[in-house]
Symmetry: C2
Subunit: 478 residues, 2 copies
């Protein structure tokens, strides 16, 4: 599962993508014979061993099957899984958010250890570098037993900021340690951003669907949401943003360009540039959520909005919660030109973040373990995502549509017409399966026929069985 | 310094208090002979060894001196130090807080390691149980290397809440683990309380002087402050509160009944009861800051407002930052009848607190080290406070007035007329001495002639020298 990422690795995935692409477009139908290993190695210019590796992987994932002395075939039950359509254009009307109760119920399920973890969007424990982190934290405690009891600066541990700043170059940004505040997870960064930029009653532009905790935050701050539709492939359209900001007095935008939770969409880099530029012209601050930016399945890390920011109007929020250590609660904020105000909000919210975990995280990054860990993590989550998509293809009614994300760790599932996500959520919970109903991802009555499944947990028989059970429930068989 | 707290210990302090009391009232003048050990042991009904111990301690602190073959005398330069008067009755007018810049400047000094630590209100590192905490955190990491990476519940680690609930019985409260939320320090508890109870523009009743971070919080939340005067001995008067809530539409009160920072005042328990009852009748929520409640110099832990709460209107905020581990940032909130709303604010601010430090703190409390540590800490801070008061008595101009707190870890110093606290603050900083100017403790132009000195640091020659330098500056000698 945790196959090492290398040049050869990319090549075998290229083969896999070529084949699954043809299956999904219907070019290769269930039961049809695949090109021979020799043919594919020649047509895609890969070695025979790479082609063999790719076919073996696809067989393991249940996409194809080998028949003795005959070759490889598309599995009978494997079928093209359409992606959910772009959400209905939202009626452009600001809405006060009032989904608290449903969101709270969903959240309780997400944090419930007794349930199959298809609700919580965190990598399974086995995928996290817990041994190395434990070793580093222990050594930090030994070396600095007295210093770890001191307060850290309001902006956060300086070495940690230096390490994060150093990494920011990878995503095209170039943030200095002085332009950054360490926060208790990305959520605190988002919260500080909205405290800086808005007052109760203000309108905030969000993409639809969007992460329910953002909606909860808007609700507690008394803000109104203006939704623009997000397409599960390409995310939001700059034209929609332009229309919305021309129509309403928008105080700030919150967007997740890199693998939006829940639809998994990736906003193309040229669109990012366009969005940043049009909002800068209107002088509207853009709050960017980049928590999934490092979990990309392609060859390159997608850029951030921040990397196109020229006037400090982009407020970047991120964290290590989805990649290293959810419980360490280490996030950060690069508030652009709003630094002074951000420092005041941080100081009056909780003064400073916890010391030992900040120091340990700085040490982890300094020891340069992160990149190797990320390569393994991306591969694992990509595999888990493929396996889950394939299993949904086999187990759910054929009208089901599933997103095909290029990163992140969720699947956005559109159920067949007439199926209700909230109903499925409660029925699944009875069977000890945790999922999140689509309704919580919009302040309006939307996505009632959707669910979100997390692909963060290590693939297992229990998870396969859970997906099958969900499929039967959806089909009305149980 | 860290003499063990015991019955005998109390007795010697009783002797000490009796003598210093007579010195302070002028009954015993500088140079006058003290009662003999035999006389004092008989009149106060303590053993001869206790009386001897008390005299030796007072000699060590520079209050008295022994003359060979003659007995003990009040030291020539020791004199009665008057306590600052109750603040001028504030003009009862709500004021928008706007002290941000001065407070920020003061805060930078507080966190500056290069300065003599008379500004920061935390016990010196040597007084904190850092070795034991390091051992416990290490063992938690070893035992739960994977689990410490998980999120904790929104309300916080259950065992930690259980331990804090168990301790709450000591201060007369009886809070269950389900009535409590773990926060990132007491400041986050205060912040959550005000987010629950107020909207921008609302009026909040505070005592004057009050902790400047509260003022900063009011400022960032756009709240107006209504000040009622606090007396350095007995704190606020219920009559003043009654008058204020009859005059203004107060949304919430923030009070620090136990050793208010900066004036060190202790509100007598019967007044606490009266305040809780009168606010309950008016249905005005009371936010209680109890971070210094455990650092009492007397025999009993003072009660909390919360212990008199009958209708859930008291919101208790506290932390371990002033007693165990500032950098762990473990605080808590007991929001009374506002639990549901408080959980929403916590969830949307930063979801949950850091895991490893919560688990370690729970283990520390479970192992029952806290009480023994507190006994030593109280004694150390009491000693440091006595020593600093005595040194101020010797080094500052005789018109200086100094609080005589019965707990907490600050001294509130009223400078001779014409001396400016902000001026002294900047001059002290040049000599690498960190103090806090009085002006930051009120939204109005008040306390310009005051400074606050922290007594948290272990007494040392450097600190004695620092106090002497401050005294000379105040006297205009340097």
């Amino acid at each position: 599962m945790n196959s090492l990422h290398s040049g050869a690795d990319y090549k075998y995935r290229q083969v896999e993508q070529a084949i699954t692409g043809r299956i999904e477009t219907g070019e290769l139908l269930p039961g049809s014979k695949l090109p021979s290993l020799r043919q594919i190695s020649s047509s895609l210019r890969v070695s025979l061993s790479t082609a063999t590796h790719a076919y073996e992987e696809m067989e393991r994932k249940g996409i194809i099957e080998s028949r003795p002395r005959s070759g490889y075939y598309v599995r009978g039950e494997f079928r093209r899984i359409p992606t959910p359509s772009r959400s209905n254009p939202a009626p452009l009307e600001p809405s006060l958010v009032n989904k608290g109760t449903l969101i709270r119920t969903a959240l309780e399920t997400v944090g419930n250890d007794d349930l199959l973890p298809l609700g919580v969007v965190c990598p399974g424990r086995e995928l996290l570098p817990y041994k190395r982190l434990a070793r580093i934290l222990s050594s930090v405690i030994k070396t600095h037993s007295d210093r770890i009891l001191d307060y850290q600066p309001i902006a956060g541990n300086k070495e940690l900021r230096r390490q994060i700043a150093f990494r920011s170059i990878d995503c095209g940004s170039d943030i200095s340690p002085e332009e950054m505040i360490i926060t208790t997870g990305a959520m605190e960064a988002l919260y500080i951003a909205l405290r800086i930029l808005t007052r109760p009653g203000d309108m905030v532009l969000i993409q639809s669907p969007t992460y329910y905790c953002f909606l909860q935050l808007l609700e507690t701050l008394g803000l109104r949401a203006v939704e623009i539709p997000s397409c599960p492939v390409n995310g939001i359209s700059p034209a929609d943003i332009r229309h919305a900001v021309d129509t309403f007095d928008i105080s700030a935008c919150i967007l997740s360009p890199n693998f939006n939770n829940p639809d998994g969409s990736l906003l193309p880099d040229e669109r990012k540039k366009e969005v940043v530029s049009l909002l800068a012209k209107k002088n509207i601050p853009l709050v960017e959520d980049d928590v999934y930016g490092e979990i990309y399945f392609g060859q390159h890390r997608p850029r951030t909005f921040k990397s196109y920011d020229r006037n400090g109007g982009v407020v970047l929020c991120s964290s290590f919660s989805k990649t290293i250590a959810p419980g360490y609660r280490v996030g950060w904020l690069a508030p652009g030109r709003f630094m002074e105000k951000a420092m005041e909000i941080k100081a009056t919210t909780n003064v400073a973040c916890v010391s030992p975990t900040q120091i340990a995280m700085a040490q982890y990054l300094r020891e340069a373990h992160y990149d190797r860990h990320l390569r393994k993590l991306r591969q694992s989550i990509k595999d888990q995502t493929d396996l889950m998509r394939a299993e949904i293809g086999r187990s759910f009614p054929k009208e089901t549509r599933v997103s095909n994300p290029q990163g992140g760790s969720v699947l956005w599932v559109e159920l067949p017409e007439g199926c209700d996500g909230v109903d499925l959520f409660f029925r699944a919970r009875e069977k000890e399966i945790g999922i999140v109903p689509g309704s919580v991802f919009s302040p309006r009555e939307a996505y009632t026929g959707f669910i979100r499944l997390s692909t963060g947990a290590l693939w297992s028989d229990e998870i396969r069985e859970g997906i099958r059970t969900l499929g039967k429930m959806t089909a009305g068989e149980i």
